[in-house]
Symmetry: C2
Subunit: 318 residues, 2 copies
Amino acid sequence: MNIGLDMMGGDFAPLEAVKGLQLYLSGSNRTASLYCIGDETLVKPLLEEHQVASPNLHLVHAPEVIGYHEHPTKALKEKQRSSIAIGFHMLATGKIDAFISAGNTGAMLVGAMFSIKTIPGVLRPTISTVIPKLDGGTGIIMDAGLNSDCKPEQLDQFAVLGSLYAGNIFNIDNPKVGLINVGEEEGKGNLLAQATYPLLKENKKINFVGNIEGRDLFNNKADVMICDGFTGNIILKMAESVYDLVQARGYANDEYFTRFHYENYGGTPVLGVNRPVIIGHGISHAKAFKNMISVAEKMIESDVCGKITALFSNNLPE
Amino acid sequence: MNIGLDMMGGDFAPLEAVKGLQLYLSGSNRTASLYCIGDETLVKPLLEEHQVASPNLHLVHAPEVIGYHEHPTKALKEKQRSSIAIGFHMLATGKIDAFISAGNTGAMLVGAMFSIKTIPGVLRPTISTVIPKLDGGTGIIMDAGLNSDCKPEQLDQFAVLGSLYAGNIFNIDNPKVGLINVGEEEGKGNLLAQATYPLLKENKKINFVGNIEGRDLFNNKADVMICDGFTGNIILKMAESVYDLVQARGYANDEYFTRFHYENYGGTPVLGVNRPVIIGHGISHAKAFKNMISVAEKMIESDVCGKITALFSNNLPE
């Protein structure tokens, strides 16, 4: 398998991307070919300095960089020699099987949706966030901010996408799907939640367990927790701030709360597009880059995009 | 001032209500007359047993109780001798100046809106939750779950109601109002947030500081944090679960996290109705009851309902 990594994305790139590669390569069973896309005048000396070398490592020169505040569509169009544009070109043409970047999120989403394209039958791609469960398990919340306003049919699809993701990447067997809501009973909630509940209840592709509340996010009631991207983004950032709070109070080394640190998960795949695309946190450090490569490996190995395509092809008009 | 307390509301009533009275009366400067509304065959022996006695204490017999799962409107109509129905009757006729209950929330809301009635000019009453700020301050989130689906004009009014509440009850001078959103810049967010931002920006009755994100809820960017009741309820319950998490991890005695415990705040007033109505958590213990009485005192003293009436009368059609 071939994995493309944007060396120029993230606040601490390319140094932390280089260190992430080093960390990744220090592990065992590293058979993936890694394509490091970035400015070689910057990246090459760093790779040498940190003695990151492997026959599986290939440097792809990209002299341009899309900055954080650039307009995504405009930048992708004008900077065709940027690391993100080259990454998507390689992904679209099959030179790599997955593309990872901690760079301009908007550009990554535009690239994913317009260059890689949405899987037929999927209304809208989605992104997720990982929630550490108190009992040691892992949950995902979906949508984590890509789709602020959602329709019930989209939430219904997120449940299918999230179940496949949880099953294939986190090895959760028959993942429990919960609808994030303000009460347990059917009929509770805002208009969106009220209209989504019956769809999830009837959906035979998922294991729906009903509504879950804000207090259930960290317990084991549900593995895949569904909401619109507005709610999901508030939850994601609030959960990140819980880590900041325990750190400020001196409990940063607590085994459980350590798991709240974004670096443990690295980034989120864009689910619902034809190939694995992983978007990292802007403040990604080495561990985050290493973990994003691991997620890409799992996505390729499990062919989660192929499974999504197969599952959604049933819904297509004849 | 005269404060009515439903002795029968809450999972641990009437015992914890009695203990709450005891706690309250043990403080200094207790001049309020307290009307204890409940089944006197149950309440009187408990008051005697716990030696809760004061010339300011008056027992009002209410032989019926509205249970947790009863239909609010139906129960209020059929059980006119229940503690909640009698409480609202006393409040509506001026025998008491504030009414507190940890009983059936729906019945409390129906009572507040139909017996006490919404202040002219207020589109919808609202409830809030208290958020402990890391720097020691106190913030409020509004709406905390009363209005799942909101219009921009409602959120704009919540900002005014919340500012008055924060100023009069938490003594926050010129409270900073933030719109809970998925990004800092104007134009971010779902349709509701996008439409609400310009209203808040133009609102001269509040000190609007812009958008705040999920990570800002515990910092000091804003004192009054505005969102729809769906989002607010998720945040409220998630914040409550943070207390559960730190307790599970053994940090329950941490000075900051202790403040996450609902008992410190007791309950939430229904803001936007003509008289002080305070709804308690179903699991209220003594401290919560005591604190609800204190909030009622402050609401009466500061005449926050009168101030709301004055402020909203400007908006009324001529």
